[in-house]
């Protein structure tokens, strides 16, 4: 067993959220530059140029990339030989979120679903804990904005719908979302699993670096086909029309029940913020 102090987890979570909210990942910046080359619409290129300027400014001035600094989503891969000491793991994560949002002047965007009263410190976070081999802890912080999350969908299709049905629902989701989720977007698609697993895995695909190959040889060509179809929709940067509707589309395929064909489409805005650390 290896001991990991809970206050180290708090500190790490705090730092990850702060970094994510002020510094856009290299893969997203590279995708913007590629988008500038691919985009045919002058307005679309102008928008991408402004997004690059925004990213530079956020890094320099320590003003968040986006005012929606998100719901605090945290993925933890806890090594089965790691032992968190000095406090509870979830409590330590919540405290890290609390400190990041307070000290970093990030927006507190969490409220009661019915009264809409703000909780005041951006907690509770949404925490997903998985067990992994080894004695390390991998923590991924994802400040996820509400605008793109609102445009995400889960479908429970009929097996007869097949790939064509999946493709039609993904295109419908992106087209209906149109300008709302801040395109150019990243589309996380999970096929199979169950109602909840499809949604979770769709979100996890968003963590894969843009431009990286799909590790599943079956999914790779289908992913490419869907990505091209999405960019043929014409939505474009900010939905003002253009070639670059999505910076990436990531597909995960999983086994499912013989009666089912679950499909989840999780949409991520261009401010695709996620940071990870291994303790």
């Amino acid at each position: 067993m290896r001991d990991i102090p809970s206050d180290q987890i708090t500190r790490t979570v705090k730092e990850l959220f702060l970094k994510a909210c002020f510094e856009l990942g290299r893969d997203v910046l590279d995708a913007f530059h590629k988008g500038l080359e691919d985009e045919e619409s002058p307005v679309g290129r102008e928008v991408i140029g402004r997004l690059l300027e925004n990213a530079r400014l956020a890094g320099e001035t320590r003003i968040p990339l986006c005012q929606d600094t998100g719901l605090g989503i945290v993925f933890v891969e806890l090594g089965q030989d790691a032992h968190v000491v000095g406090g509870g793991l979830r409590t330590a994560i919540e405290e890290g979120v609390r400190q990041a949002y307070r000290e970093g002047h990030l927006r507190k965007s969490v409220c009661h679903p019915l009264t809409r009263a703000n909780t005041g410190d951006n907690t509770p976070a949404v925490i997903h804990i998985d067990v992994a081999p080894g004695d390390r802890v991998r923590i991924t912080a994802v400040p996820k904005g509400g605008g793109s999350e609102n445009m995400s969908r889960v479908f429970l299709l009929k097996p007869a719908d097949g790939w064509e049905g999946i493709k039609a629902r993904v295109l419908e989701t992106v087209s209906e979302a149109g300008p709302n989720p801040c395109p150019p977007i990243i589309v996380g698609v999970a096929v199979g699993g169950s109602f909840e697993l499809a949604a979770l895995e769709a979100k996890k695909t968003l963590l894969r670096p843009l431009g990286s190959p799909n590790p599943d040889p079956e999914a790779a060509p289908l992913e490419k086909e869907l990505f091209e179809a999405v960019n043929d929709l014409g939505v474009g940067p900010m939905g003002l029309g253009g070639r670059v509707t999505a910076l990436g589309l990531h597909l995960k395929i999983m086994p499912c029940h013989i009666a089912s064909l679950p499909l989840a489409v999780n949409i991520q805005c261009h401010s695709a913020r996620h940071e990870e650390a291994v303790l």
Binding site: C66, G145, L240
Partner: protein, 188 residues
């Protein structure tokens, strides 16, 4: 892109008449913020015949919930939020003289109809460019619903705040026209 049109808020209907869907605008002057929870309260006040925290006549509402101002600054990041959530409330404010809304994303048919009926336009700002757009905001004052935190109504003084005309007085819609122009194949 065309030369930007300069607008100074508050606005008159005459200011809006030359605007065309697709025009870029630079807004200066006084504008107000309001998003979900503030709109709910504003409309409740309209229904009860109570005085509003500001007179909507000629005004612009910016759909934004800014991040807190760090020390030495007037505001944090301040980009637009998605507008359709304010659709149920927007026509009643246009009936009270509201001239423009700044946000991002599509509006409902009812809102588009109300814009033509009452003479108002919808302006799109770049979503997710919060650090950049915050730079155009020079003064901030919370004027109502302070308990709503990021959703409180703020009076802003802006200088050259950039936006694009999405819906003009003639009923054109930049989102529909833009997507149609670049769609390929039967899926468009």
């Amino acid at each position: 892109m065309s030369e930007p049109v300069r607008l100074t808020a508050p606005l008159t209907r005459e200011d809006l008449e030359p605007l065309n869907s697709g025009d870029t605008v630079l807004i200066s002057g006084t504008i107000y913020t309001g998003r979900d929870a503030a709109h709910k309260r504003l409309i409740e006040a309209v229904r009860q015949g109570l005085e509003l925290p500001f007179d909507p006549e000629g005004q612009i509402i910016y759909y934004v919930g800014p991040s807190p101002a760090p020390p030495g600054r007037v505001i944090g990041a301040a980009g637009p939020t998605t507008s359709y959530r304010m659709d149920p409330y927007a026509p009643a404010l246009m009936a009270k003289g509201l001239r423009a809304m700044i946000g991002k994303g599509r509006r409902s048919d009812e809102v588009k109809k109300a814009m033509i009926e009452y003479g108002a336009v919808y302006l799109g700002a770049i979503g997710g460019a919060g650090a950049l757009l915050g730079q155009a905001i020079k003064e901030v004052e919370i004027i109502a619903y302070e308990d709503l935190g990021p959703e409180a109504v703020r009076r802003l003084r802006v200088e050259d705040f950039p936006a694009v005309v999405v819906n003009d007085l003639k009923g054109r819609d930049l989102y529909m026209e833009g997507q149609k122009k670049y769609a390929r194949g039967e899926k468009g």
